[in-house]
């Protein structure tokens, strides 16, 4: 349940950028390798935003699939159901994560003043 503290961190970022305007939608980008449950995040957001200037705003989450690259044979691949960092082409374990670790606030939709 670290979603609660993540919501606190999101609120800090949003408040810093929104100024006095009411925030309607907060756009997030969350990588597959982030252990965040979007449902839980949305629920925690209502708890954290309630009674604040951010009450009523919603989170819009774009999930980013993990992409990996094999350092041995340069194969690029995605992760399927089970997360195992093994190259499907040459079975090397020497793989690097190219994408999927993001957790960013990418945009805010602000209401008319």
């Amino acid at each position: 349940m670290h979603e609660l503290s993540l919501c606190g961190a999101i609120a800090d970022v949003v408040t810093r950028h929104a100024g006095p305007r009411r925030v309607e939608v907060i756009h997030l980008r969350i990588g597959q390798l982030r252990q965040v449950v979007p449902d839980t995040l949305a629920f925690c957001w209502t708890l954290v935003s309630e009674g604040t200037d951010l009450a009523g705003s919603v989170l819009d989450v774009e999930r980013v699939p993990a992409r990996l690259r094999c350092r041995a044979c340069n194969e690029r691949f995605a992760l399927d159901g089970t997360i195992a960092f093994v190259c499907p082409a040459c079975k090397s374990l020497d793989v690097e994560v190219v994408a999927g670790e993001d957790f960013d606030v990418t945009a805010l939709d602000l209401a008319e003043v």
């Binding site: 349940m1 670290h2 609660l4 503290s5 993540l6 961190a9 999101i10 800090d12 970022v13 950028h17 305007r21 309607e24 939608v25 997030l28 390798l33 982030r34 252990q35 979007p38 449902d39 995040l41 949305a42 629920f43 957001w45 209502t46 708890l47 935003s49 919603v58 989170l59 819009d60 989450v61 774009e62 999930r63 089970t82 997360i83 195992a84 960092f85 093994v86 374990l93 020497d94 670790e101 957790f103 960013d104 606030v105 990418t106 945009a107 805010l108 939709d109 602000l110 209401a111 008319e112």
Partner: protein
């Protein structure tokens, strides 16, 4: 609940029933929300949600480095034996090194109480504020403990994280290395179920090894699973109860002190 919102025709809709994903986590095929309301403005930004935590983790790391203190973030599931292993560790190291333990515990000081009178300074962080307690330590929490410790008089800080195989992996606290304790009673497949945490570990201590004769656990399978998510992690078999392997673990800790300390921690954040 965060899943209702209004469109320009004044209607509300509910993303839980709109059928394209869980509430608050939808894509917007059913209507582009960016255009629906005149006067609404979208501002683009790119800010990492973990930015503040990671900034403070870097500060922690700098302060530790400046004073020549090594910090190890100890993580495990509840009941894997962190506190018992820490007791054995302090018994062996406290006369050679000046050690502090930072204890993360949701409500009680039970773990901290078990570590007293072993020659180490104990700093307790109760994470129980707010909604039922945090499930992890973050960099600001560790900072609050660091400022109470006299770093100049320490060599080593062992940070006992909250027992949990998910959340602690997400938070860099400024440690130099991450050590996980995995009890053989937890079975073989935990690395595949909790890959993020196992991937972030520099060392995996395979604990309660004395119980192996009584279990149907395949340690080779565990090692294979671990290698699939983390091919470079060191492993040490230990039993905090019988003392097997504790010397090797202490030697690993001391090996971190020899070269100029460099960050070997692999936080998930980049």
């Amino acid at each position: 609940m965060g899943r209702f919102h209004r469109h320009d025709d004044g209607s509300w809709h509910d993303h839980e029933v709109s059928g394209d994903g869980p509430p608050g986590a939808h894509s917007h095929d059913a209507g582009d929300h960016s255009q629906y309301q005149t006067g609404r403005e979208r501002i683009q930004l790119l800010e990492r949600v973990f930015g503040e935590n990671d900034r403070m983790a870097a500060e922690n790391r700098n302060d530790l480095q400046r004073e020549g203190v090594i910090a190890i973030n100890l993580m495990s599931a509840p009941g894997a034996g962190k506190t018992t292993l820490l007791r054995e560790t302090l018994r062996r190291l406290a006369d050679r090194l000046r050690v502090a333990v930072i204890e993360g515990d949701i409500e009680t000081s039970l773990d901290a109480d078990r570590l007293r009178n072993l020659g180490a300074t104990i700093e307790l962080i109760n994470t129980g504020d707010g909604f039922g307690g945090e499930c992890h330590l973050d960099a600001p929490m560790v900072r609050s403990a660091l400022v109470r410790l006299r770093l100049a008089r320490l060599d080593l800080i062992l940070i006992e994280n909250v027992g949990n195989l998910v959340c602690p992996a997400e938070f860099d606290v400024g440690e130099h290395a991450r050590a996980m304790i995995h009890a053989v009673t937890e079975g073989e497949d935990k690395p595949l179920k909790y890959p993020i945490m196992f991937r972030s570990a520099d060392l995996v201590l395979i604990n309660k090894i004395d119980l192996l004769p009584h279990l149907d656990v395949d340690l080779d399978a565990f090692r294979r699973n671990l290698r699939a998510v983390n091919p470079t992690a060191t492993t040490i078999e230990v039993s905090a109860r019988t003392g097997v392997g504790v010397a090797a673990w202490c030697a690993w800790i001391e090996s971190l002190r020899r070269p100029a300390p460099e960050s070997t921690a692999k936080p998930v954040a980049t």
